[in-house]
């Protein structure tokens, strides 16, 4: 498990190869969605004025799954407080959004194709799954929706040099 700390508005995330808890902490290589992308998402969330409006009470933990990779996002008051790559199986989270990498790749396109343009659309049509406490998912949906918009926008923009 790798912890990617978020240290305020100008935080630069320390990114290292994730640790496989099933292999006694040995580091393994991960290239898919996207520890780097999610770290940049944390910066985008802090900078986003809309999330500043709708994210005041956005405090929850959720998992993004992509193939066998898992990313646990802990959000506090609209900011990405902590990002865990391949979290230990006992780490708690409240809801999860999981999809194969082929779905995430389509979802993250700037102009995504139909059926992959939205998590409800993708879940409705069997390309994605929603798991966990749906009440928490619904309670934070507006801020989560904005966060996922930022994820797409971040994926479409070049990383800072």
């Amino acid at each position: 498990m790798t912890r990617l700390p978020q240290e305020g508005p100008a935080a630069v995330c320390a990114i290292g190869p994730p640790i496989d808890p099933r292999r006694n902490g040995a580091r393994i290589s991960r290239m898919s969605l996207d520890d780097k992308l999610l770290a940049r998402l944390g910066q985008a969330m802090v900078a986003d004025p809309e999330l500043g409006v709708v994210g005041k009470f956005f405090t929850c933990s959720f998992l993004l799954g992509c193939d066998g990779n898992r990313y646990l996002l802990r959000v506090r008051n609209g900011s990405l407080d902590e990002l865990l790559v391949d979290p230990h199986p006992t780490e708690p989270w409240q809801f999860a959004i999981k999809a194969p990498s082929s779905t995430w790749q389509r979802y993250l396109q700037a102009s995504p194709p139909a059926e992959f343009h939205d998590i409800w659309a993708a879940a409705w049509l069997g390309h994605m799954t929603l798991e966990g406490d749906m009440k928490v998912f619904m309670q934070h949906h507006m801020a989560l929706w904005r966060t996922l918009k930022l994820l797409r926008a971040t994926a479409s923009s070049a990383p800072a040099a």
Binding site: E115, D118, A121, L125, K135, M138, H141, W145
Partner: protein, 284 residues
């Protein structure tokens, strides 16, 4: 100097359905063939704001966009204790209201156009009241649309307006302008609690015409079906399959459009709906 005043006017008319009278608000503009416009579930008539202001349409059509009771400026019935019962829209109420509204305005066989639940109700109007309409234009319609009658839309531990607006965005095409996207979402944040869910009783709980839709007679009333590429509640494939069951029904997929064609991208919507309105006009 006074500012220019829009030709769109808003008025009220009383409509009685099943013994209860509703004070119904509607917007209208134009002259010619009456074109009744039905908004989607949990929304109101501003979804048709661009159609009402389009002289290409209002030159030959009297465009009338009403608020269904409980929506927009159309109150619940003043004469009964509506707060003591669950609001769940039914096909009987929906169709009787539409026919009653057309009667209240003394409309001569209007064209009816609606989206989502307004598209689905076209199938019921075709079945039960075909002689009352000149044509039916069913947007975002399929013969079976289950799954959206869920409690989360009106739940005391969930902020329903934010939830609904942000869920609705997933039904809007990514190519939609930011203004049209935000207005479509905004309209959805304006409904009273329980109204969206109540509308979806008709759309997702009651509605199932899979076994009967093939009996609709388009010889009595023409049926045009159109669905947006990005609609996941009634996908283009589902709408096309529905149309294929109905002899004489036409179908088109609207590209770069979602579940709200009339409020997402008016020029693009007109590129699809304009020729249909012209065809109806020439036939009339």
């Amino acid at each position: 100097m006074a500012a220019p005043v829009s030709p769109v006017t808003g008025r009220y008319v009383d409509v009685t359905v099943a013994g209860e009278t509703y004070e119904v608000f509607y917007l209208e503009a134009g002259e010619g063939i009456p074109l009744l416009c039905q908004h989607t579930a949990g929304a109101h008539n501003h979804q048709f704001r661009n159609l009402l202001r389009d002289p290409e349409v209002t030159g030959s059509y009297r465009v009338i966009a009403y608020d269904l009771p409980y929506h927009g400026k159309s109150d619940p019935p003043h004469g009964s204790s509506w707060w003591t019962r669950q609001y769940d829209l039914t096909s009987d109420f929906f169709t009787e209201f539409i026919v009653g509204f057309a009667q209240a305005l003394d409309l001569d066989r209007p064209v009816f156009m609606g989206s989502s639940m307004g598209g689905v109700v076209c199938l019921y109007l075709a079945r039960d009241y075909p002689e009352r309409f000149r044509a039916l234009i069913a947007l975002e319609c399929a013969d079976f649309t289950p799954g959206f009658y869920i409690d989360w839309w009106a739940h005391p531990e969930v902020e329903g307006r934010e939830l609904i607006a942000s869920v609705v965005d997933g039904l809007i095409a990514p190519q939609t302008s930011e203004l049209d996207r935000r207005l479509t979402m905004f309209y959805y944040s304006q409904a009273a609690p329980g109204v969206l869910k109540g509308d979806l009783y008709f759309y997702s709980a009651e509605h199932d015409m899979r076994e009967t839709v093939s009996t609709l007679d388009t010889g009595k009333v023409p049926l045009y079906m159109l669905t947006g590429e990005y609609d996941y509640l009634s996908t283009p494939a589902q709408s096309e399959a529905t149309a294929a069951k109905i002899p004489g029904a036409s179908y088109q997929t609207m590209h770069q459009v979602g579940h709200f064609p009339m409020s997402e991208d008016h020029p693009r919507f007109m590129s699809y709906i304009g020729p249909i309105l012209d065809e109806i006009d020439k036939r009339s």
